[in-house]
Amino acid sequence: MDMQGSRTLAITQQQAWQALNDPEVLKACIPGCESIEATQEGSYALVNAIKVGPVAARFKGSIVLADIQAPESYTLNFEGNGGAAGFGRGTARVALAPLEAGGCELNYIVNATVGGKIAQVGQRLIDGVAKSMAESFFKRFEEEMQRRHAPPEEVAADAQEASEPGALKKMWSRLKGGAGEAAAPTPEG
């Protein structure tokens, strides 16, 4: 499974970097994350509940950070074992770049493989589950950052304009009247 994406964040590169290295933030934002603990510098143990189609299991695993170029990028190597449900592992390359108008841009490339039952019965669902988990992660991440850093209005507005998918998402969430609306001001707002 391969996935890549880009998000514009209404916080500084340094703030984003700190957040992405903070187990508390990660725990709050990773969907299904039950615990995450630093085991040593750049290594974490986590327990995560994941459901792919008919297979639901608690995955116990680890995250090890590598190629750390603070505050710009790291590679996140993860693996998890869900017992009879199978296993998953992969890498996520995460890069942060400051934006001229303020805020920063986060780019990610994820390569993951799954094995065992989860691969056998959920193949068709895995991409969808992964995308929805990523969506959910960033939605929570944005909310968490909003809560922590409450950026200046105009920075967030510019950032939204710079990112077409983000703008569309805001329009969509406004149409739905969703919670995303409150998290950041709209370009017009």
């Binding site: 493989t113 799954v114 094995g115 065992g116 691969a119 056998q120 019965v121 193949q123």
Partner: protein, 794 residues
């Protein structure tokens, strides 16, 4: 009695409703999972989640301590105590060296080699306890790179130390020099590259085992969903467990479909039988559908390049074929024979091609073992021949039927250049009838009508031949077979004249209880209701090689016929005594014994009674009783053949293929029950068309995970995918069995895939599409159309 006389008997050629359906349709079938034994425990298997890995450690402590768990067995428990699963056919390389036969352990020892490989066996009081404990077994794996693509297998990491390049064997057949010479002087050469897609069998009943051990008698009883219980017993006792054969009873009760996948001796069968003694209990295991996908032997999976040399008129001069065959991670029971003996020998098809050379490379890969699946080698051969022949027609500007007619064999017996001798057939008659039933004359009008609706209509031909009733034993033995190929039948006439037949053929959906009853009733002048058929039990049936290769009627039925010959001969002597006549003057017909030239007669039942109440009986010359057994080893294969014509409509905008018409004309020789034959053909066609359009077993090329491990991703055909089939028959009775039967169980699956693909390619011809591999899914068809259009657009 010859085939022509046999065919005229009452009950022959009659669509008698199936006797067994009364119990199947009322839920009274008795399948392995229905069997309950005393002191019965349950098994669960721990299976590898990796395609290739070293087993560093297996920690069973936590699992063993869980409630209800009797024992957790691993490879360490069986190592040195039993052999591995045997392969039933030795294939030799051109230099005479034997194929590589790595150990196939009952529980993985040291390494796992495919996702689903059996690592540990957990036995517990309940199924839930067994499954929970299986989840608690901790296996420490060191992952190794898998070998998935057989084209790269020789450079991949070695799965087995015995086969460093993952090459199991090279096998060749035919005169290479003569073929090369013919190609050098040919006016035309057509070439084709084909993939025969991997299939995953899906019988309604999954594999199931219920094994028990009796300490008092030191006897084992194994209930198993299996197609050939005597072979299962022989392989397990002689090759794996080293047990005396008479101490093991194997019973294959009602079995819900096999399609080949239940021929083989599987590790689960052996593991439970062995563990039953270790734990002094009965143990049951029924595969879940997911386990079936992972661990049942898969089918097909060939990559082939084929070429045909022709003269100016399109007459075939020589054929040259190279095939890579995927054997999976281990050699299953008949894995080695399927892409060789059962494949290369069929490459003549229905044609007079004078020279054929075939070369096959068999490869180990980190995938489930591949073995016989409905047709076993003959569908693969037919697909190569019939796709190539249609390609030849298009290359030469001939029609699909014309090129076939120009090359049909018309003189019989016919010796092919690839070892077989066809005894009889009438290929032009099959083609004539198929064209008439398919209304080929109206095709052009239908094509225009489709065109008007924006759809592409195509017609595809396939003139298949296959070989049934693998035979004879002495020749097969010389070719590497490690089993005999005869069949056994016992006819037990009871004192009141009713009959029980014990047959080595096994029925798992084929309707033997009806067909064989018709055969016996016809011979003895009884009603079929007076004849019961017993099969699938080594404790009751004298011996048997089981059911595969469409052999039941031609081989199993003939064994019964031979036993009936003995019954008739003895009964005539009893009748002669009763009517005070000479043996030579007794005639038997319509259930009555008569004395030639007189009006004296006595019924069969009276002779039967006399045999068991021998008050007036020639005891000085004849034993009492009327019970005879016969073994029949055929002198040749039988050769069912036919022509199939398929018409499809393809939507060029979406790539969706719809089978609009399908006509199948088969020559199965003499038919005993037309309704059962029709059912067999329907089932075969559905499986074959399913292969052509829908089914595909896919492993992830990097990780070796089975991507099509459930019905989410593996598309089984459904009724709505098919039109009503049009069936027809031609009958040239088989010349070397007394029934004249040839076999009908696999023909549909053998003949249909190339008919469908030729039709799809015919529909796409004027869009420039020349090549397409099965399954022709909408995505693939759409892509092929787009790719063909690209050069023009650029």
């Amino acid at each position: 009695m010859g085939a022509n006389d046999f065919a005229k008997l009452p009950h022959i050629g009659v669509s008698l409703k199936r006797k067994e359906d009364a119990r199947f349709l009322t839920g009274a079938g008795n399948y392995t999972d229905d069997i309950q034994q005393a002191n019965q425990k349950y098994a669960a298997f721990v299976r590898s989640p990796h395609a290739h890995a070293r087993i560093c450690a297996v920690d069973t402590a936590a699992a063993s301590a869980m409630p209800g768990v009797l024992r957790v067995f691993t490879g360490a428990d069986i190592e040195g105590k039993m052999g591995g699963l045997p392969c039933g056919w030795l294939i030799s390389n051109p230099d005479g060296s034997p194929m590589k036969e790595p150990m196939h352990p009952i529980l993985a020892i040291g390494k796992v080699r495919y996702v689903g490989d059996h690592v540990a066996l957990v036995v517990a009081d309940t199924l839930e306890q067994a499954k929970n404990a299986a989840e608690a077994v901790v296996v420490d794996y060191e992952e190794l790179a898998p070998v998935i693509d057989m084209k790269k297998a020789k450079d991949g990491p070695a799965l087995h130390d015995e086969a460093p390049d993952n090459h199991c064997y090279k096998w060749t057949l035919g005169d290479k020099a003569a073929v090369d010479a013919a190609f050098a002087g040919a006016a035309h050469v057509s070439r084709i590259d084909l993939v025969n897609n991997r299939l995953i069998p899906n019988a309604i009943e999954p594999r199931a085992v219920n094994a028990s051990y009796n300490r008092a008698s030191d006897e084992y009883t194994l209930y198993v969903a299996n197609q050939n219980p005597h072979v299962e017993r022989l392989l397990m006792t002689a090759f794996v467990l080293g047990l005396p054969e008479h101490k093991v009873r194997v019973i294959a009760p009602d079995v819900g479909g096999g399609f080949g996948s239940k021929i083989f001796l599987y590790a689960e069968d052996v593991a439970l039988t062995w563990a039953a003694k270790e734990l002094n209990c009965a143990i049951k295991w029924t595969a879940e559908r997911s386990e079936s996908f992972l661990s049942d032997c898969h089918g097909r999976d060939h990559i082939t390049h084929a070429e045909m040399a022709m003269d100016q008129e399109g007459r075939f001069l020589a054929m040259r074929v190279h095939t890579d065959a995927n054997l999976g991670a281990y050699l299953s029971t008949f894995a080695s024979a399927v892409p060789t003996i059962l494949y290369g020998t069929l490459l003549a098809g229905q044609y007079t091609t004078p020279q054929i050379y075939v070369e096959v490379d068999g490869w180990f890969t980190s995938t489930a073992p591949v073995d016989a699946y409905r047709g076993a080698g003959r569908p693969e051969a037919t697909y190569v021949v019939e796709r190539l022949v249609t390609r030849c027609a298009w290359d030469l500007g001939l029609s699909q039927d014309e090129i076939r007619r120009r090359n049909f064999i018309t003189q019989f017996p016919y010796q092919t250049p690839v070892a077989l001798q066809y005894d009889i057939g009438d290929y032009h008659a099959c083609m004539d009838k198929a064209q008439q039933l398919a209304d080929v004359a109206g095709f052009e009008a239908r094509r225009k009508e489709s065109e008007a609706r924006g759809l592409k209509r195509g017609i595809g031909y396939s003139s298949y031949i296959e070989a049934c009733g693998l035979a004879p034993s002495n020749i097969a033995g010389a070719l590497g077979a490690r089993a005999g190929l005869f069949e056994a039948g016992e006819v037990r006439v009871h004192p009141t004249g009713s009959v029980t037949v014990f047959t080595g053929s096994h029925s798992h959906g084929q309707g033997h209880e009806t067909t064989f009853a018709q055969l016996v009733a016809a011979r003895l002048g009884l009603d079929p209701s007076q004849v019961d058929i017993v099969h699938g039990d080594t404790g009751r049936v004298p011996f048997g090689m089981g059911t595969y290769g469409s052999r039941s009627l031609s081989v199993g039925g003939t064994a019964i016929m031979k036993a009936l010959d003995k019954i008739e001969a003895k009964a005539k002597k009893i009748a002669a005594h009763l009517m005070e006549a000479s043996d030579a003057d007794i005639e038997f017909a319509n259930g009555e014994f008569t004395v030639k030239g007189t009006d004296k007669k006595i019924p069969f039942a009276q002779v039967a009674l006399t045999a068991y109440v021998p008050h007036n009986y020639p005891l000085d010359k004849l034993e009492p009783g009327l019970n005879e057994t016969a073994f029949y080893d055929p002198t040749n294969f039988t050769y069912p053949a036919g022509t199939y014509i398929c018409e499809v409509e393809v939507d060029p905008a979406t790539g969706v293929v719809r089978v609009d018409r399908f006509t199948a004309v088969d020559d199965f020789g003499v038919i005993v029950n037309p309704m059962i034959v029709e059912g067999q053909v329907h089932g075969g066609l559905v499986q074959g068309i399913g292969q052509a359009l829908l089914e595909h077993g896919v492993y992830d090329p990097d990780s070796g995970q089975l991507l099509t491990g459930s019905y989410m991703d593996y598309t089984m055909p459904r009724a709505a995918d098919f039109p009503q089939f049009t069936l027809g028959h031609v009958c040239t009775p088989c010349t070397h069995n007394p029934i004249g039967a040839k076999g009908c169980g696999e023909a549909g699956a053998i003949g249909s895939p190339p008919a469908v693909m030729n039709a799809v390619l015919d529909a796409l011809k004027d869009l420039g599409v020349k090549d397409l591999d099965m399954p022709a899914t909408p995505h693939r068809v759409w892509q092929a159309i787009r790719q063909a259009a690209q050069p023009a657009a650029a």
